[in-house]
């Protein structure tokens, strides 16, 4: 009975904690303190609800309890109060003066002041004074309502390590006097980028997880998706937010098809597309439409989502629109120059215009040297050479790729291909 009540309270906490912490942070202007006060309210709930049962509106109960604890603290601590009045007034004034458009946009849509506080909380947890690791941990703690133990499991580190990371992150925010506020307009784009990068990093931490690992790692994918969807509701005018959501929904749609029965990874073109998740694909395409509907030139997330959408729309691998994908990679390379993007473009061009055209791009990359040591470059060249019937060169490149990868399963695969190329050459 008791256990059941605790599990139910934990569920309420998961649902409500971000809103409670955000509300308190607005009052005390300190996310660390807000989180402690929210925890106090949770402890009170565990006592009271464990005895009297869960109230009709548990969320409201928790908010009221937490707010009372915050106001008690302010009454007791005069120094804190004086400091807050000073900061609070300054902030309100500055915010009202400096970010009219952004808050107006939100105001128009917002049904509840809490949404605004949540957005502040996200920007604070993903503040640039924090390291990427600290941003991830704090975001999961403050926005996800995850316990320190759960976050530690997700990142495969001891709980004490994660606890320290979170404490340090809160201290860093305090020492840097980071205000609980929306970024000023001049910084908005860059700050939003940091938020989106944090969410996408969370997604990839989980997406790259292996099947045998702790279940908390795949849970990161679900949490990143959830946060992305929340963010899309909070900042609906930002195309890249929808772009990121679309990208994550579309990538997540393939999770059930990425491994075969024996657990070996299955490449995109070999996946059983009937196992792709139709609900997520539909949501991804809808998010992409929202992003495109905002009319700005597509940013990197939206472009990557468009590429993922090309795959999602192809019911069979042979129906993939490679010409469009090649064009999108070219756009992506302009928006976010990177040799890895160029290599992807070489693959797409190879599919669209034939292996010779793809090889030309790959050769150019090989000459510029930025991908030296990256096994995918020789592997891509090998595939293209093989298609051109240049078997001996293909074999050499496969062997080069095999020597560069640290992954045993991949090395075996590449050496197998090298062998097959050599055989084909002598046949």
């Amino acid at each position: 009975m008791r256990e059941q009540a605790d599990a139910a309270i934990a569920a309420v906490w998961r649902i409500e904690s971000a809103r409670i912490v955000a509300t308190l942070a607005r009052i005390v202007r300190d996310v660390g303190l807000a989180e402690e006060l929210a925890q106090d309210a949770l402890v009170a709930a565990l006592e009271t609800w464990g005895r009297d049962g869960i109230p009709e509106r548990p969320g409201a109960w928790l908010v009221t309890c937490a707010r009372n604890k915050a106001f008690d603290l302010l009454r007791r601590d005069r120094v804190l109060r004086a400091k807050l009045e000073q900061i609070g007034l300054d902030l309100e004034a500055r915010e009202a003066a400096s970010v009219p458009d952004f808050t107006d946009d939100l105001d128009a849509k917002r049904q509840d002041v809490i949404q605004d506080d949540l957005l502040r909380l996200i920007f604070t947890a993903c503040h640039p004074v924090l390291s990427p690791d600290a941003r991830l941990a704090l975001t999961l703690k403050l926005l996800g309502g995850l316990s320190t133990a759960e976050i530690a499991r997700a990142f495969l580190v001891p709980e004490s390590t994660m606890a320290q990371r979170i404490v340090r992150a809160k201290r860093t925010l305090g020492e840097a006097r980071v205000a609980f506020a929306l970024p000023p307009p001049a910084e908005l784009d860059q700050r939003l980028d940091t938020v989106l990068a944090t969410v996408y990093l969370m997604f990839n931490e989980g997406y790259a997880a292996t099947a045998g690992e702790d279940w908390m790692r795949p849970a990161l994918v679900a949490e990143a998706l959830r946060l992305g969807r929340v963010l899309a509701g909070l900042a609906p005018q930002e195309p890249e937010v929808h772009g990121l959501v679309a990208l994550m929904e579309l990538q997540a749609s393939r999770m059930g098809a990425r491994a075969d029965a024996a657990g070996a990874p299955v490449l995109l073109l070999d996946q059983d597309r009937s196992r792709w998740d139709g609900v997520l694909i539909r949501r991804g395409l809808a998010a992409l439409e929202r992003a495109a509907g905002l009319g700005e030139a597509p940013g990197p997330y939206q472009l990557q989502a468009h590429i993922a959408a090309c795959h999602a729309r192809a019911h069979r691998a042979a129906l993939t629109d490679w010409r469009r994908i090649a064009g999108l990679y070219a756009e992506l390379a302009r928006a976010q120059p990177s040799p890895v993007v160029e290599l992807n473009r070489a693959v797409a061009v190879g599919m669209a215009d034939g292996p010779a055209a793809g090889l030309l791009l790959a050769e150019r990359l090989a000459q510029d040297g930025r991908l030296d040591g990256y096994h995918w470059l020789p592997s891509v060249r090998a595939d293209l050479l093989l298609k051109l019937g240049r078997h001996q060169e293909a074999r050499t490149e496969f062997e080069r790729a095999a020597a560069l990868t640290a992954n045993a399963r991949e090395r075996a695969l590449l050496l197998g291909k090298a062998h097959a190329a050599a055989q084909a050459g002598t046949a």
Binding site: A211, R229, V230, G233, L267, R283, N344
Partner: protein, 135 residues
């Protein structure tokens, strides 16, 4: 994990009576809460069974049976698909579901977990995904 909240039909939904404004508003508010929390995946209301049909398999035969169907309380009038982190969280969201047929009207919703990847036999550990062509 995913859960489907299934709304059972009643005489009104089977008669194709549209919910009144206040019920629409209550459902809208609830769906907004789900969306704000990032847990709403999908949902829809279903037209009455008079506009549907069944296929009945008998031996090698398959037979079309036109609606309406009579066992009203066993019929489905709509669904909401959510993705949450635990069974308890699904329980908490379902407790907040407004009465789908309006305040004071006898009604029932049913919540069912969906099968997930983890429900299928375990496979050996995956190597890290290094799929260059994703996205």
């Amino acid at each position: 994990m995913r859960f489907m909240i299934i709304v059972k039909a009643n005489a009104s939904t089977e008669a194709g009576v549209m919910p009144d404004e206040s019920l629409f508003a209550a459902m809208g508010d609830y769906n907004q809460q789900l969306a704000d929390a990032g847990v709403l995946l999908d949902g829809a209301g279903l037209k009455p069974t008079s506009q549907g049909w069944r296929i009945r398999y008998e031996g090698e035969e398959r037979r079309v049976v036109d609606g309406p169907f009579t066992e009203t309380r066993e019929l489905i009038a709509g669904y909401t698909l959510i993705e949450v982190r635990s069974r308890e969280e699904a329980m908490e969201w379902s407790r907040r579901f407004p009465n789908p047929h309006g305040p004071g009207v006898s009604a029932e919703i049913e919540i069912r977990p969906l099968y997930e990847m983890d429900d299928f036999p375990p496979s050996p550990a995956l190597e890290r995904m290094r799929d260059l062509q994703v996205p």
